[in-house]
């Protein structure tokens, strides 16, 4: 059985609309004087929150050995198959005998889900806060191992955008 819900009964003031209109106008007027939330993007950069999933990076040990051991768990976990790894015997002396000869990520395919980061047993691949890496050609959006290590150097201290900001304010 259908339930009859008592609908809203407009009062006289509701019926002449004018108070409601004024109320509406006041809302926009209040916003007119509020602080603006626009960020002037190329001039000032949004600093993403902790855990933001942007451009990838490959981490290094303090002795410069790349953390990645080319286990390919990331490419196995990748839902869009954008990670391509060629493994090889590591040139460094030490316990980890394997390293990636090539490590390519197709950024055009990548959906930035972060599964690679979660799958990585060596904490080698990570998603950084960098979000503005658009480019004009497809080729330039295929990032290789050297590129990923460069990203590591840029984002080592997790302050990529704030550093850029302070540099700009200095100059």
């Amino acid at each position: 059985m259908a339930t009859i819900i008592k609908s809203y009964e407009p009062t006289f003031w509701d019926k002449i609309y004018i108070p409601a209109l004024v109320k509406g106008l006041m809302v926009t007027l209040r916003h007119f004087f509020k602080r603006k939330i626009t960020i002037q993007y190329p001039d000032e950069k949004h600093i993403p929150p902790e855990g933001y999933r942007g451009l990838h990076r490959l981490n290094k040990y303090p002795n410069d050995r790349i953390k990645c051991v080319a286990c390919e768990m990331c490419s196995a976990a990748c839902p869009v198959d954008c990670i391509h790894i060629v493994p090889g015997p590591s040139p460094w002396e030490g316990d980890k005998e394997r390293y990636p000869v090539r490590f390519d990520i197709d950024l055009l395919r990548c959906i930035f889900c972060g599964f690679c980061e979660m799958a990585c047993p060596e904490e080698a691949i990570e998603l950084t806060e960098i979000y503005d890496f658009s480019n004009y050609t497809r080729e330039s959006l295929l990032i290789d191992k050297e590129g990923l290590l460069e990203v590591y150097e840029l984002t080592k201290d997790r302050n990529f955008y704030s550093r850029v900001k302070s540099k700009e304010s200095q100059s």
Binding site: V69, C71, A76, P87, G88, P89, D95, K96, E97
Partner: protein, 529 residues
Amino acid sequence: MPLLKIDSLEIEVEKGTTVLQAAMVNGIEIPYYCYHPALEIVGSCRMCLVEVEGMPKLQVSCNTFVGEAPPERKIEGKYDMVVNTHNDLVIQERKNVLEFLLLNHPLDCPVCDQAGECYLQDYSFKFGNAHSRFDEDKRVRPNEYLGSQIVINHNRCILCSRCIRFTREISGTSELFVEARGNKSKIAALEDKPLDNLLAGNVADICPVGALLSTDYIHKNRIWNLKKQPSVCQDCSVGCNVDVFYQKDKILRLTPRENHDVNGYFMCDIGRYGFHRFEDLDRITTPMARSNGSFSAVSWDEAIRKTADKLGDEGAKIAGIVSPFHTNETNFMLGQIINGPTGTLPQMNDEEIIYQSGFRISNDRSPNRRGMSDVCPALLEDLVSEIDNQDVRMIYVLDDGIDREIDDVWKKILAKMDFVVVQTYAMTTLAQSANIILPGPAPYEREGTITNDGGRVQWLRPSLPMKGESRADWEILMMVMKALDKDAQDFTDIGQVMKDMGEKFPAYDGLSFFRLGPHGMSLNGRANG
């Protein structure tokens, strides 16, 4: 026959069967490392412990044999033996055993090539603890070469001794042994006798963990990236069953596939690493025609038309050379086209090796000599003199491939010919003397049946895609046949070729890939065509 009860299952088994075998055959899983059906039982890993009622301690199921109990001692009045494989005691025991096995294991699965097909991984996941109580430092040892192709990672080794038993029982060469005792024990090769026999590659296969590694595959790829194609080895006439592991159009490794009628559980290193010969070959991928001493690519239509024009000449004498490297179907098709003298190039002999276990590497390093002679019955012993006698001026050659070396006699014959057609996949010496080259598939791209020297027909399955414009061998021959005779039978797939072959040669009657299955079919006892 003794009546056995495993968990809730009643099983009647032969006397002398082990509990592990009885369980495996009946689909009850008991984990094990050291047991291997082809090797002697040692019961050293303790992974297969089960509870046998009436015995005070848990027993290793791989080394516990089922016997007949006297009537008064039968359990519940009828069972000769009652085994529990999944009660709390056994489950706890498995956890303990795994914890011990993993004491010194480095858990470096990310860099280990066994990861993905590792029993230690699988069983730890299924039966093991999630953590270890071992707080001390793990024992760390450097990797060592046991032979030129085999590396051992001592840290991962669980000392199951499968590899040692393999060298003692299968290859009979006994290079490996356990060095030292207790915590210091490790697998080692004799100083003056490294693990370099032709079966050495098998120890990497039978190693249940990632301790023994083949240098050929180490750090190349990951197992889950590879596709597995059951096929047959094409490097000698034994025809070992293999699994071809490949990614895209590259073979990464070959492993033996179990077939008790052919190779058992193993294969030799000649076949195992043989596929490297075909990598990075300078392949012929389009039909080629020679004019003024140099080859130029032509279309299929043109190549076939040129071939048929010459071969179709009235009164032309054409010789055919079939090949033991090609499939039965290809040889059969050529036999149907050529009416002149048919033969083959001289056999290339090599050393025959027979191991202690009976494992054999044939002296004939071509895979299909038996099948070739079965489907081309009129093969001439002395083709050379027959060509001279009959004054043959044209010849159609199925090329043996890159392994074939031509002697001077044949070079002379080929030079004399007016017209030579060579069906091949690379620019071999034979192909260089051709007028027309028709590109076919290379080994591991071919499909069809081959017959080993024991008379077993096996299904040769392609693992790699064909390159460029090349076509299946039977298809090329069918195009030639159609061009010569418009009324020739039209085959649309290789199954029809097999059917036609069966009609002409009763030994091959009723063959199909479905009937051959993974293990092939013996011709012995069939009518011989």
